[in-house]
């Protein structure tokens, strides 16, 4: 049997109809590009800044201080036996990751329009880079968490091994929503602004700065329909050992996250075709 001396692949360029495949194998082929864009994003972000990458740490710390003073000291909200500042920080961490990732993913197509308009590469890489850069920030703040736990003399619990699960949940949700909005944002630039408002509202419906046990009994089920509640509670449970452990809410959250992610990916592929003409 004749073996071709070079793998020449045939590409057919035509107008795509209906549902296009996600093209995940192409993303794997372009993995070098994925890492380069990620590195470019992170390096470029903090250049010529006096404090540079320190901001990755200062941002969540700053928020924590403000909320601690406001709600911990002044309003004296209960925090399940954990020092309030730490309690807040553990809630802020995943929330900020989710909020930033979603925002950056939704903006990613518009921000990268320069290279999208000039070179071909699987467009899914762009939102992936946005989410991954959020993860990098997240890991930086995890380091601060370790320091804080040391400071408050709170010992780590065995449950922290479940942390990756909750992190994955947050990632799927952020990426999924971002994918839905990325394409929409190209056509209607106010989508990103609307997202900003929605996130602010959502923040109060999620136990970021208070304990979920504060919600009255009859609203608990409804409250837990929000998959992010599971994420935040899960973080607190995994890192501090307080609050409700995963129950039916975890399964529900996973289902919602999967649905949002997969549908978002297909929708993104659908809008991908025409965005260059509008960008």
């Amino acid at each position: 049997m004749q073996v071709a001396k070079s793998e020449i692949n045939e590409i057919i360029i035509e107008r795509s109809q209906g549902l296009t495949s996600l093209g995940l194998k192409y993303i794997w082929e372009y993995r070098d590009l994925l890492f380069f864009l990620l590195w470019r994003e992170i390096k470029g972000r903090y250049r010529q800044m006096a404090l540079g990458p320190l901001w990755m740490i200062i941002a969540p710390l700053g928020q924590m201080i403000i909320y601690s003073v406001l709600l911990g000291v002044m309003a004296r909200l209960p925090s399940e036996g954990i020092p309030y500042a730490l309690f807040i920080y553990v809630g802020l961490l995943p929330w900020q990751f989710f909020a930033n990732s979603t925002r950056q993913t939704a903006d990613s197509l518009v921000n990268q329009r320069a290279i999208i308009a000039k070179v071909y590469f699987p467009r899914l890489i762009i939102p992936l880079v946005a989410v991954l850069s959020g993860l990098v920030d997240f890991f930086a703040s995890l380091v601060v968490l370790a320091i804080l736990m040391l400071f408050f003399r709170v010992a780590p619990v065995w449950t922290f091994v479940t942390l990756p699960f909750f992190l994955l949940l947050a990632t799927m949700l952020g990426l999924g929503i971002g994918l839905w909005l990325a394409g929409l944002n190209v056509k209607f630039r106010d989508t990103a602004i609307g997202l900003g408002f929605a996130l602010e509202a959502l923040r109060f419906l999620t136990p970021v700065v208070y304990a979920s046990s504060l919600i009255p009994e009859r609203w608990q089920t409804l409250y837990h329909l929000n998959p992010l509640t599971t994420v935040i509670d899960g973080f607190r449970w995994a890192l501090l050992g307080v609050g409700p452990g995963p129950n039916w809410t975890a399964a529900w959250a996973v289902a919602v996250a999967l649905l949002v992610l997969v549908s978002g990916a297909f929708y993104f592929r659908h809008t991908e075709r025409t965005i260059v003409d509008i960008l």
């Binding site: 020449i8 692949n9 045939e10 590409i11 057919i12 360029i13 035509e14 107008r15 795509s16 372009y30 070098d32 590009l33 380069f36 864009l37 470019r40 390096k43 470029g44 250049r47 010529q48 320069a114 290279i115 999208i116 308009a117 000039k118 070179v119 071909y120 590469f121 056509k187 209607f188 075709r273 025409t274 260059v276 003409d277």
Partner: protein, 427 residues
């Protein structure tokens, strides 16, 4: 391989453009329009485009490119060349039709694609190379070659935002030139950069196609480069293929269409009946045939007919004004032996010898000035009335020594040269 590298079948691309808006006459009207504009945008995106909002950038394009061929795509600005390249590079989708591509494609549609101003030249080489599909180790292997080609070795570790535009362009092209795609698609990038750089680029393209047998699709306005590098050309006009064939023929055809549309048919009645009146003017070859293009070595003639009326007192002196395509005045020429004449219709003819003008398109302005005792009166002046395309047959021109790049100059006269040895040096 007998399957073509690129096969384009009935490709069409439609863009939706903004319909021409009615400008409001009153200030309140303009204000109302501005206030309601968001709703208008929303409504326009939700409904299908109206007739006037549809613009067909490409209409039913079909052609084939074989492996190892270099094909040029030429046409006026707006003919659809860049759109075609964008579709073949998978940047945008066609509206209908399809293209089948066999092989890996590397596109250079704009210089410095993916360059991040904050990163250094070194970092950008890796970034740019990766964006274009090279693997990390490939780039590493060719790194020195790329830096050497670009000539920015001294600045390779400085952020590219500090580069001059020339350095920027050289670096970007250096990366693109060292890709090893099966098919290379280049869009007019050679328009930027100095002559030195352009020469280098053309040399590299030639190396890639003839030396390595890769397929190249090349858009340019540099007709000399097209004739030298391309075996065939696709001529695009208003989104359709107007000609598909040998490079030299394609280039002549393209230049002639440029000339034809440049001709303005106005001002035919310049001058008054009673003094001097313009009748006609043409560019002719040695046999008296109307021509629109001529070889750089060939003589041609500018002929004008005019009527001298009874009120003409002095000599009606014809003068022709030659300008290059960018508007630079090449020269103005007239004739010494004009006497005052009796009323009638006259014809004057001027011979422009071969070996005088440079290649390119020249416009010729036609005028008659009446010179009499009291002064000079311009009876008529028709600027850019005629156009002629001067073509340099690059391969057969011994003066070029096979150089395919542009030769600058308003004129390119053939002068007498004499070269001899004046002192022998013993080794």
């Amino acid at each position: 391989m007998d399957t073509p590298a690129i096969r384009v079948e009935h490709l069409s691309k439609m863009y939706r453009i903004g319909a021409q808006e009615q400008q409001s006459q009153t200030r309140t009207g303009a204000f109302k329009r501005a206030a309601l504009s968001p709703i208008a945008y929303l409504r326009s995106t939700l409904r299908p485009p109206s007739e006037e909002e549809i613009f067909w950038a490409l209409q039913d394009i079909s052609f084939e490119v074989r492996h190892g061929e270099v094909v040029g795509i030429i046409g006026r600005n707006g003919a659809g060349k860049s759109t075609l390249l964008k579709i073949l590079s998978r940047i945008t989708e066609p509206t209908s039709g399809r293209a089948v591509i066999k092989g890996r494609v590397g596109s250079l549609l704009e210089v410095g694609t993916g360059f991040h101003p904050e990163l250094t030249g070194r970092e950008n080489i890796f970034l740019n190379g990766t964006i274009m599909g090279m693997r990390g180790h490939e780039i590493q292997r060719k790194f020195d070659e790329i830096v050497d080609f670009s000539g920015v070795e001294k600045f390779i570790d400085t952020p590219v935002k500090r580069y001059s535009s020339g350095m920027y362009v050289r670096l970007a092209f250096a990366v693109a030139a060292h890709l090893e795609p099966d098919i290379l698609i280049i869009d007019e990038v050679l328009a930027v950069g100095d002559t030195e750089f352009q020469k280098k680029c053309l040399g590299k393209i030639e190396n890639v196609s003839k030396g390595q047998g890769r397929t190249v699709l090349f858009v340019s306005h540099n007709m000399a480069a097209i004739t030298n590098l391309c075996s065939r050309c696709v001529v695009l006009e208003h989104g359709s293929v107007s000609f598909l064939g040998a490079a030299a023929e394609s280039v002549s055809l393209y230049l002639e269409t440029m000339v034809r549309t440049g001709n303005n048919q106005q001002n035919l009645n310049a001058g008054t009946q009673s003094s001097v009146q313009f009748l006609s003017a043409n560019v002719l070859d040695g046999n008296g045939e109307h021509i629109s293009s001529v070889s750089i070595f060939q003589d041609f003639f500018i002929e004008m007919t005019y009527r001298v009326g009874k009120d003409a007192t002095g000599s009606a002196v014809p003068n022709f004004h030659f300008k290059t395509s960018d508007g630079t005045y090449a020269f103005t020429v007239s004739t010494p032996d004009i006497q005052p004449v009796s009323p009638g219709i006259y014809r004057t003819r001027c011979k422009v010898p071969g070996g005088l003008l440079n290649d390119g398109t020249y416009s010729i302005g036609i005028a008659i000035t009446e010179c009499h005792k009291c002064g000079y009166d311009v009876r008529f002046f028709l600027p850019d009335y005629l156009m002629v395309a001067i073509i340099d047959p690059v391969h057969e021109n011994p003066l070029r020594y096979k150089y395919a790049g542009p030769i600058p100059g308003v004129v390119r006269p053939t002068l007498d040269w004499e070269t001899s040895c004046i002192e022998n040096e013993t080794v």
